[in-house]
């Protein structure tokens, strides 16, 4: 046991700091700090900057063009990126599809799709959930019927994050209705420009439209877009979800969020003094900071173990549950801290809107973020599903 960073790790932190200081565009960090939504070109610009540095895919093996960082390096990068208000890396291609292709895809698929993910040529979205298949994902009904060299896809996906920007979608589809649910699912890559694909935005309670419904009507998909074997898609999906969950601890987000809470609470006055000096509020902040410090180490312990060759199993479910509870608690504190100035509808947080808001605290749209982040404990397998997994794995049954 040694909690101190090695000289190499310290040097790496310096390298990350220098990179962020030099290369992170100020307009992007200002948007993140102000809680504003990034437009598509913002994300593409940041991805391109990271790609040029070779840091866009920290998890990927070097042979695919990744950085292949270890757990500590990833942790350091995440901390520094959050501290500098860097945009998050949009994970659908890089963090979700890519690991599946790298493990289960054909050589041709790897050679074709992976470089396009890095270059930003393709923007991927995820076609998993359906109106009738949420927590019970395996009950999905979107069908793919083989006809010669193509599958014909029909059905509907929902909660497709940033689907409005995407040109490609990876989907779980039903290729066999007559077997056990999990054994009739395949993993298919679909070009969103194909006739019969329709994307409809879903307006959320914070006024934003980051998620979509995606409809498929007789969509022709070439058979070479099948990943791995037909009817083995559930295995790949579970593999992907494990990766999704590893990232979902969100330590960096929480650290940035906690910094913001403290900043707001210093600006906000209560009883003639900064709110941060109010013992009751200070106790709330301290409580979540203590939890976050411990979870940060939990995250490092688990991710280190995974890097050493142990697949993250039940631990990733634990990280998801605790990580989202902490993030949501921090969102709640930011909302509380802003007092009456949490009430205005921050439409400027939404893409394309410029309505000025009173924001003497420079708090940003804290209440909208609080509501938006209720999604954290719902998506990627709800926290109830995660607790079910933990119980099943540790107690059997």
């Amino acid at each position: 046991m040694d909690l101190s960073y090695t000289d190499e790790e310290k040097a790496f932190r310096e390298e990350v700091r220098t990179f962020l200081a030099e290369k992170l565009p100020e307009d992007l960090s200002a948007k993140i700090k102000g809680g504003k939504e990034l437009v598509k070109s913002d994300v593409e610009r940041w991805h391109a900057i990271l790609n040029e540095q070779g840091w866009l895919a920290p998890n990927w093996p070097k042979k695919f063009g990744g950085a292949e960082w270890n757990a500590v390096q990833k942790h350091i990068f995440e901390e520094e990126a959050a501290a500098h208000h860097a945009p998050r890396i949009v994970p659908f291609g890089l963090g979700m599809l890519a690991p599946v292709l790298q493990k289960f895809g054909s050589k041709e698929q790897q050679d074709y799709w992976l470089p396009r993910i890095l270059s930003g040529e393709d923007w991927w979205c995820q076609g998993y959930s359906e109106p009738g298949a949420g927590s019970d994902l395996a009950s999905l009904k979107t069908s793919a019927v083989r006809e010669g060299d193509h599958y014909i896809v029909n059905g509907q996906k929902t909660w497709t994050t940033l689907g409005q920007h995407a040109n490609m979608i990876f989907c779980l589809v039903r290729t066999d209705k007559d077997v056990k649910q999990q054994e009739g699912i395949s993993f298919l890559l679909i070009d969103m420009d194909t006739p019969g694909v329709e994307v409809r935005p879903i307006i959320l309670l914070d006024g934003g439209a980051e998620v979509n419904e995606v409809w498929f009507t007789d969509v022709k998909v070439p058979v070479e877009n099948l990943v791995g074997e037909e009817n083995k898609g559930w295995t790949y999906a579970k593999y992907l979800l494990t990766h999704e969950r590893t990232n979902i601890a969100g330590v960096g987000f929480s650290q940035a969020g906690l910094t913001a809470v403290k900043r707001i609470a210093k600006a906000e006055m209560a009883g003639g003094k900064p709110l941060i000096e109010n013992p009751h509020f200070a106790a709330r902040v301290a409580q979540v900071e203590i939890d976050l410090m411990a979870m940060s180490t939990t995250n490092l312990r688990i991710v280190s173990k995974a890097a050493a060759g142990t697949a993250p199993g039940v631990e990733s479910s634990m990280l998801k549950v605790k990580g989202t509870i902490i993030r949501q608690e921090i969102n709640d504190l930011a909302r509380r801290a802003a007092g009456v100035y949490a009430m205005p509808f921050a439409s400027e947080a939404i893409e394309g809107s410029n309505e000025a808001l009173p924001d003497p605290l420079a708090a940003g749209p804290v209440a909208a973020q609080y509501f938006n982040n209720r999604k954290l404990s719902i998506f990627g397998g709800s926290n109830e599903i995660q607790r079910g997994i933990i119980a099943k794995v540790t107690m059997g049954g």
């Binding site: 949420g134 309670l205 006055m269 509380r336 949490a342 509808f345």
Partner: protein, 377 residues
């Protein structure tokens, strides 16, 4: 002890509930939310005709209610339907202050208020006052027979639609003194008054109100010079009773929607409410709902009590509703899943009303501290 509503209040509750069920569905309200004014004048007039506003004033003031349980009867129904029209601002706060403190001429407005013809706002909080009731730095300076107001008021609900504003300003004393605060009736078109409006996350509109040497006749003062603090506190107490009642109504809707959803939504081949993890949370919600109702009853029943007793119960209710409201809103969303986060689903708006109520007239923590102070006193 008797926990039944009087016959009159029961009738008001029934007619209000029926009206709002028929006339104020999710789609109708979402149109109101998206409109420039953020409120429906038609709904306003019809509710006024039903007696919603009259029920918030006493008989001496020209109404037919005005007690704690009249307020709860009205606002619980408004909350149940997620009504965003500014009855709190016009009737309970600004209208109430005019009725409580006004001279004969000023009280003449009450009739217009009850008929639904007048919109009002209460401009009291300031950018650095947070939830402190007596922290007023806006100044009122007497110049011969006129009074000049200067300062800024924060997040003033209904300021744009208001015909007149009731504005608090300090005539003497230090910034947080109880003594020295006066109230003024300021016409919306007064020279030097600027209203910068914006929409609110949970519906309705508010504004930053700037007073730049707004000159008024001394007759614009409501009540005695420098002595408004306790009248403001009593009105905020009434507003808090209205607020917790509205939140209770909204929580009932959230609970009902969640119960229905748990019974109909199927995953893994069965209604999700049959999973114990969710069933127990639903049970906890129902237990907390009973606590919430009792806290609201305690506050309403003590609204006419002496100051210390009244304020202790008001703060108890506001603290409990802040905690319980958060639980009900968050667990309702969680047990629904993604659907609850979509604007077209009723719960989205209802959950926002519940949570954002904690940002009005003091949050959970503020009222915990206040409860301690009033318990010790």
């Amino acid at each position: 002890m008797n926990f039944e509503l009087t016959e009159e209040r029961q009738m008001l509750q029934d007619s209000l509930r029926r009206f709002l069920r028929d006339r104020y569905d999710t789609a109708t309200r979402n149109k109101i939310l998206e409109s420039d004014s953020g409120l429906s004048e038609a709904i306003w007039s019809e509710l006024a005709e039903l007696g919603v506003i009259g029920a918030l004033f006493t008989e001496e003031q020209g109404g037919f209610g005005g007690k704690g349980f009249d307020i709860t009867t009205v606002f619980e129904e408004l909350g149940r339907a997620g009504v965003v029209e500014p009855f709190m601002e016009t009737a309970v706060l600004a209208g109430g202050l005019i009725a409580d403190l006004g001279n004969e001429e000023q009280q003449g407005h009450v009739e217009e208020i009850i008929s639904g013809a007048l919109q009002l706002a209460f401009a009291h909080g300031e950018p650095t006052s947070r939830y402190d009731l007596f922290r007023v730095s806006t100044t009122a300076t007497v110049k011969s027979d006129a009074v000049v107001l200067s300062g800024r008021k924060a997040v003033v609900l209904n300021a744009e639609a208001a015909d007149m504003l009731v504005v608090s300003a300090r005539e003497s004393g230090d910034v947080a003194d109880e003594d020295g605060i006066s109230l003024f009736l300021v016409p919306k078109d007064a020279k030097g008054l600027t209203v910068q409006g914006y929409a609110l996350l949970a519906g309705g509109r508010a504004a930053e109100v700037t007073l730049d040497d707004v000159t008024l006749p001394a007759s614009a003062r409501l009540g005695a010079a420098g002595k408004a603090a306790h009248a403001i506190e009593a009105r905020i107490a009434a507003a808090n009773v209205a607020q917790v009642s509205e939140t209770l109504g909204a929580m009932e809707t959230a609970t009902r929607l969640t119960k229905d959803y748990l019974g109909t939504r199927k995953q893994f081949g069965r209604p999700i409410g049959t999973f114990q993890a969710l069933a127990h949370r639903m049970s906890d919600m129902l237990i907390e709902m009973e606590q919430a109702r009792s806290a609201v009853i305690n506050a309403a029943g003590n609204l006419e009590s002496d100051r210390k007793v009244r304020e202790k119960h008001v703060s108890a209710a506001k603290n409990l509703m802040g905690r319980t409201g958060r639980l009900i809103a968050e667990d309702s969303i969680q047990m629904h899943g993604g659907i609850a986060m979509t604007q077209e689903y009723e719960l989205a708006h209802i959950a926002k009303r519940i949570v954002m109520a904690d940002h009005r007239f003091g949050d959970t923590d503020h009222h915990l501290e206040r409860f301690i102070a009033f318990s010790a006193a």
